[in-house]
Amino acid sequence: MKLELRKRESISRRAAIVVPLASFGVSLLFGAILLIVSGANPLQTYAAMAGGAFGSVNGLTEVLVKSIPLILTGLGVALAFRMRFWNIGAEGQLTMGAVAAAGVALFWSQGMPAWTILPLSLLAGCIAGAVWAGVPAILKAFLNVDETLTTLMLNYVAVLYSEHLYYVAWRAPNYNSGTERIPEFAWLPRIAGRAHAGIFIGLAIAVLLWAVFRYTRWGFELKIIGANPTAARYLGISIARNIVVTLLVSGAISGLAGAGEVLGLTRRLQQGISVGYGYTAIIIAWMAQLNPLGVVLVAFLMAALAVGGDQIQMRMRLPASVGVVLQGMLLIPMLAGSIFREYSLHVSRARNQESRIENREDTDRQEDDAVDGEAAETGGANGSSRSRGTGGAAGTLRSGGTEGSAGSLRSGGTGGSA
């Protein structure tokens, strides 16, 4: 007997609804197993988590607080991922945004009209984030340097640099760490509890990006590049220019997230500005299938998971590690579930090689260098490896597609390894 994934003939509307719900159910079940093993009552735990996140105004505003940086970095990441630029540097871009915004707010406030400081600080955050993403973009566009490495490395540079600033160079006297508080006129106004106006910026950018993706030439070109870079080149679309422009915007949005945290929440540059938002953003962008409006929704849920997760320790008296593992357990089925939107599971009895072959190109076509062998039924071929003779499943992260189907985990060739 053999399990086999088959590509769906079309993206079914039903699957689009049923799959996430089923995934969520499986998530809760997985989590429940962990909780039982840890000696906690799953129902109580889930109720406590829901209560922590949604059961009070304070909880809700805290969810908003957390969702602001997640929305912004999620949007920044989703934008870059649209064209399959694997920007995993949102963390660094956020951090540099925070550094720049704090720098401007702290040190430019003399000699400048007070009202200019807030917009200038936000702008500085954007620029710093853009620069931080722009460097890997330029390296990729003109020297083809792998962006996953450069963006990741720059994260460390940014985080360590910011530590240097708040522990050493900009440290306020009498403080172990952290800068002076930024002047009040540079604060981003708060709207409820600690939730600040950054939420409006996030929502506005989400709507804007949604429109860009749908209604602009730029968005159209991004989608083509993301779905098939070879075709983009052939269609006269400059990939290099798009990489640079897109990443500047992507970085700017993440930089804004950092600026928002400093100007709206901590009001000083200090430790804990980012608790891995830039990395969570990757999960968010992915789960939202790179849809900007989806990012808002998923970011909100992730924020709720984090805020509600406090209760695992506070009320359920479980160690912090259980909370972290639980969050992971809840996420994995959700992520894995996305594969079932595009593939359906089939169970067959025979050891069936045939099914595996069918997804494969008639190899005779491989004889020609021109044919970048992927059969029509496996979907567009982009950067596909042609050496598939061993039948190993080549997992590729795919995005592209319409709003409904952009981004999901796809395996290049089905079937197990030989």
Binding site: A48, S177, G272
Partner: protein, 363 residues
């Protein structure tokens, strides 16, 4: 005003959630005195947080059913801490302890909002009528440990894995170095910075770097036992910190300047329960027992033990260690002969004393 109303509604909501969810029927008015602690690391760090948690357990043992304690571990300094502290305040905890410097502002912010809850912040300096601070003069046992190290180094070079270039850490390095030099004027203390409080890998690497550079005793200011283990693996000696690390590593740990919060926690909670709590800035030393030197390893010879015992007696008899003459690292006079540094000076100390090899990153 509106905010207050919302908060009350929120509180009611949370409580009803708690009631329905847990079904335990939490008794709000006549229940035990509820205490929460916010930890920077896990209690299993065998160092800083371990000692605070030992204090918490002592409280539970002392008061039994009259006090209910809880804690949340590994809370990032910064925005997340404010959320957690507020959550405890909202859930009706009577007293909240926050055990890292970075929790100061978040706690201050929440304390302003909840005047009926008592807040205690460890190692900071901001106070309110309902927020006090507490810390210990760990530099005193550090000086004693320095005496041990200075007496026992064979290469006259001791390694110090330092956390962050802040007064608290610099004070510790200086006190330790004064001890080393009092026992052995030839010896120096080499400092490397990790910029971490709790990063076992980095701290181990830093210790190895020092051992490679030729030191034969290692000590540190972070919350892990990794430098001690690294030293042991290299056949070198070490001085612990935070807790009695000899218990976790072995006899190569000669001794440890350690925290001992049991008495403080029991006392301050008792005051709060009795309604006698008042805001304070507590900075206790060896005389209070809030800091102490752990028991010696069998490797420490009797003459060294005697030296330490004499010095400890002198400190308890109010003879501070930061008394002149003390030269700064560059040879200039830091504390003149006959003078002693006041607490303000100690709390803002940003220069090394003579005998330290290393630099404080420029500000």
């Amino acid at each position: 005003m509106k905010k207050r109303v919302l908060a009350v509604v929120a509180l009611a909501l949370v409580m009803s959630m708690a009631l329905t969810a847990c079904g335990t029927g939490a008794k709000e008015s006549e229940g035990p005195f509820k205490v929460a602690l916010v930890y920077i690391g896990p209690p299993g760090d065998l160092g800083w947080t371990y000692e605070h948690d030992r204090g918490r357990k002592a409280v539970e043992a002392e008061f039994g059913d009259d006090v209910e304690t809880t804690y949340i571990e590994s809370v990032e300094e910064g925005p997340d801490a404010a959320r957690v502290i507020r959550q405890y305040a909202q859930e009706g905890y009577d007293m909240i302890f926050a055990t890292s410097f970075g929790y100061m502002d978040p706690m201050f912010e929440v304390a302003e909002e909840f005047p009926d809850v008592i807040f205690e912040h460890c190692s900071g300096y901001k106070t309110l009528d309902n927020m006090g601070t507490y810390f210990g003069r760990i530099y005193q046992p550090r000086y004693l440990a320095g005496l041990v190290a200075g007496s026992m180094t064979e290469v006259n070079n001791i390694g110090y894995v330092a956390a962050f270039p802040i007064p608290e850490v610099i004070r510790g390095i200086n006190a330790f170095t004064l001890g080393v030099r009092d026992a052995n004027p030839e010896a120096t203390v080499t400092v490397v910075w990790t910029n971490t409080w709790y990063d076992p890998v980095k701290e181990r690497e830093a210790a190895i770097a020092l051992l490679d550079a030729g030191v034969d005793i290692v000590t540190q200011h972070q919350d892990t036992t990794e430098p001690q283990k690294a030293a042991q693996e290299r056949g070198a000696l070490s001085i612990g910190y935070d807790s009695d690390m000899r218990a976790f590593v072995g006899d190569t740990v000669l001794t440890s300047p350690m925290w001992n919060w049991e008495t403080y926690y029991i006392d301050t909670i008792r005051q709060a329960m009795d309604g006698k709590w008042e805001t304070h800035q507590y900075w206790g030393g060896l005389s209070d027992g809030v800091v102490k030197l752990a028991e010696f390893s069998p490797k420490v010879p009797q003459d060294v033990r005697d030296l330490v015992a004499d010095a400890q007696k002198a400190i308890i008899d109010d003879d501070d260690i930061f008394c002149g003459p003390i030269n700064a690292q560059d040879g200039s006079v830091l504390v003149a002969e006959g003078a002693c540094m006041d607490d303000a000076g100690k709390l803002s100390m940003m220069v090394f004393v003579e005998g330290v090899v290393g630099t404080i990153p420029a500000q």
